[in-house]
């Protein structure tokens, strides 16, 4: 497939790995923020291929993993309201809430439908005018413009049965919170490629400057990740700290202004609770007042519920890169992909799921 297979060529990979081995003299800890990068790293055995002085740590860039339990409980409660159709990305279906999950709610009779796009959710709203269609907004800057676009479309078409439960978040505040906490010492950041397609390089340039940490924006094919590692090692060895775009075919320095404009039109920053990181100001997105008609929070009576983290679950620490799945007493014993306790195991790009599926005792 064009622009995919070329970036998986084994000879180029071998060359990059050799390059990295040659360049790398200082030990360095690199964090990949984005769940998509976690999957690539695991799926192609990249950790094992890198020299041991390079450590790769997974960060909180998995929207499912960082969705607060209380938010998930809200979504599940909404699913049980008569006349409601919940439309959601597949990722959310099996995440365990305090008492249930969307999948369990569906099994008990709730109308929960997996969609690939907000365009599909809009179509469901058009076809079911007597029911209320709530779209569960999760994701970072890559996804938020698509949610915004759907709200604008709904307004244009005068749909009165389309709502968003916004759990959408923005990435830089979380990375800053992580760096501020000083819990994990990081020598480089592999920045999220498709988030950057929207945001451009600026937010990462600011982080590089303020925290003195090398930032490289990477694509998602294995060569992209290896190239980014090589560029980060170059900066580490050269004692530099700036932002570089490795994913040049997918990211323009200015990002996608049209997408950002749409996002800003519909959403405004709000505080948000991130699982494992607590509440971070200005890190979430909520619908602006003029779009209240599409805001599930304003149109449904959502009971306040107390949500509790399951005992023994250390997803929070794993998300912050402080612990690894192997440090968790539940990992592989009571917490497995079939019976996940925490979100890091449910999401296919959560660290625990990735480790479970691909990590294996192959020195992973």
């Amino acid at each position: 497939m064009k622009f995919i297979t070329e970036f998986r060529q084994p000879e180029l990979a071998a060359g990059l790995i050799n390059q990295i081995k040659r360049q790398s003299k200082k030990s360095a800890r690199l964090m990949e923020f984005c769940g998509g990068h976690t999957v690539t790293v695991f799926r192609y055995g990249i950790r094992q291929a890198l020299p041991p002085i390079l450590t790769m740590v997974s960060g909180p860039g998995c929207p499912v993993c960082v969705t607060d339990m209380a938010d998930l409980d809200k979504a599940i409660a909404l699913a049980q309201v008569p006349g409601v159709i919940i439309t959601t990305f597949g990722d959310m279906l099996k995440v365990p809430g305090s008492h249930s999950s969307l999948q369990a709610a569906k099994a008990a009779g709730a109308d929960v439908r997996t969609v690939y796009s907000t365009t599909d959710a809009l179509q469901i709203a058009r076809e079911n005018s007597d029911q209320k269609v709530i779209f569960l907004g999760i994701g970072f800057e890559t996804t938020s413009p698509t949610v915004a676009a759907s709200v604008l479309r709904a307004r244009e078409e005068r749909l009165t049965n389309y709502y968003i439960l916004s759990m959408n978040k923005v990435s830089p505040p979380a990375i800053r919170a992580l760096l501020d906490s000083g819990e994990v010492k990081l020598d480089g950041l592999i920045c999220p490629g498709h988030v950057s397609t929207i945001t451009g390089a600026r937010p990462w340039g600011e982080i590089a400057d303020e925290y003195g940490i090398p930032c490289v924006i990477a694509g998602f094919e294995p060569l992209d990740v290896l190239q980014a590692v090589s560029m980060l090692v170059g900066q580490v060895e050269g004692r530099e700290a700036r932002v570089e775009i490795a994913y040049r075919r997918g990211v323009r320095p200015e990002g996608n202004p049209a997408a950002r404009e749409m996002m800003d039109r519909v959403f405004e920053p709000a505080p948000a609770r991130w699982r494992g990181l607590g509440e971070i100001p200005e890190s979430g997105l909520k619908l602006r007042a003029e779009y209240a008609a599409y805001d599930a929070e304003k149109n449904f009576d959502i009971p306040q519920m107390s949500s509790a983290e399951p005992p023994g679950c250390i997803c929070g620490e794993i998300l912050r890169g402080v612990k690894t799945p192997r440090d968790c007493t539940l990992f592989r014993k009571t917490c497995t992909p079939e019976h996940p306790v925490g979100p890091c195991m449910v999401s296919s790009e959560g660290s625990c799921a990735a480790d479970y599926l691909y990590g294996g005792d192959l020195g992973g």
Binding site: R43, L93, D361
Partner: protein, 334 residues
């Protein structure tokens, strides 16, 4: 207004008799079935194989097949995977009130055609009708009986280090063809389910070599899950090459778009064979000579290392573990 199945059709009365008669007896036409005794009786000798499976797929008509074809192939293939020659099938139907009679007739025709292609006879059956909402259109159960020829000993526990692993063709066709019909995920493809009866293919393979160790069809859970089952049963390691595994462009494209891994997508007309290294080429040639084995290829081998685990050499040249599927592969955005 088209004719639909009513609850009365399942109650054993005149309506039921007429339905069963017109839809099935006439269509499936064979002497054992036509006797319509409470049980079919027949002679059989040798080692018998017996299997059962239920089919609940939705949509019931999909590109490349339907629930009827699937119900025959699935059970026939289970028999074939134990080395048995499939002979007789039973057919149990649970029909949802409201199913179009024309749909039922279409399914019956499909069952007939598939049974004929597979060389099996449906010799006994049952029909029930349940209230609207209690079944997804129609559920089918088929049980099958086959005869295992002398000298054939196929079992998941038989794999030994040095054996070769053969895959009969491209993976993921069925699962992606079904997904393409799912509301909310609509994408267009010419991809068809690979649903097919493999009895004849297996017969050719056994004619090439009676020493086939293991046969399994990678249905739900895909290639990865089935290889793991074999590795576990045999307590041996399996090593496969990602670049050797055939995947159609459309399957690869759909998987990229939806964030799925072809290794975990269901197949309904493929098989994995674990065979002694010395016989591999001969068996492969026999497979490639058959319509359901044209793209057969050796994808790996059995090893004494990492017993019970499946390891894959990735297209990048690195190695990683391939685990079983857990749960349903869900399309994702992340």
């Amino acid at each position: 207004m088209e004719d639909r199945i009513l609850l009365a059709h399942g109650s054993g009365g005149r309506l039921a008799h007429d339905l069963v008669g017109s839809c099935f007896i006439k269509t499936l036409a064979n002497p054992l079935l036509e006797m319509l005794d409470d049980a079919a009786t027949f002679e059989a000798s040798g080692r018998l194989a017996f299997t059962t499976d239920s089919y609940t797929i939705s949509p019931i008509f999909f590109p490349g097949g339907d629930i009827g074809k699937l119900a025959v192939c699935g059970t026939v293939n289970d028999l074939s995977m134990s080395g048995a020659i499939p002979r007789y099938l039973s057919l149990g139907l649970i029909i949802e009130e409201g199913l179009l009679v024309s749909d039922l007739k279409r399914i019956a025709d499909s069952i007939r055609a598939t049974a004929e292609a597979a060389g099996v006879q449906i010799i006994t059956g049952d029909t029930k009708v349940v209230e609207r909402g209690s079944a997804d259109g129609i559920f089918i159960n088929t049980s099958g009986i086959g005869v295992v020829p002398e000298g054939v000993n196929i079992s998941g526990a038989n794999a030994r280090p040095g054996d070769k692993v053969i895959l009969s063709g491209p993976i993921g066709d069925h699962g992606i063809a079904i997904l393409s019909q799912r509301e909310g995920l609509s994408f267009h493809t010419t991809l068809q389910s690979d649903c097919a009866p493999l009895g004849d293919l297996v017969a050719r393979m056994l004619a090439a070599s009676k020493d086939i160790r293991c046969l399994r069809d990678p249905t739900r859970g895909g290639l990865a899950t089935t290889l793991n089952e074999l590795a576990d049963k045999s307590q041996a390691g399996i090593l496969i090459n990602e670049t050797a595994i055939p995947v159609r462009d459309e399957v690869a494209g759909a998987c990229e778009m939806l964030g799925l891994d072809p290794l975990y997508i269901a197949n309904e007309g493929k098989l994995i064979a674990i065979v002694p290294a010395g016989d591999a080429d001969r068996i492969l040639a026999a497979m490639q000579d058959h319509q359901y084995g044209r793209d057969a290829v050796i994808i790996g081998e059995v090893t004494g290392e990492h017993p019970g685990r499946v390891v894959m050499k990735t297209s990048l040249g690195t190695s990683r573990i391939v685990d079983m599927l857990t749960g349903d592969p869900l399309p994702r955005i992340c």
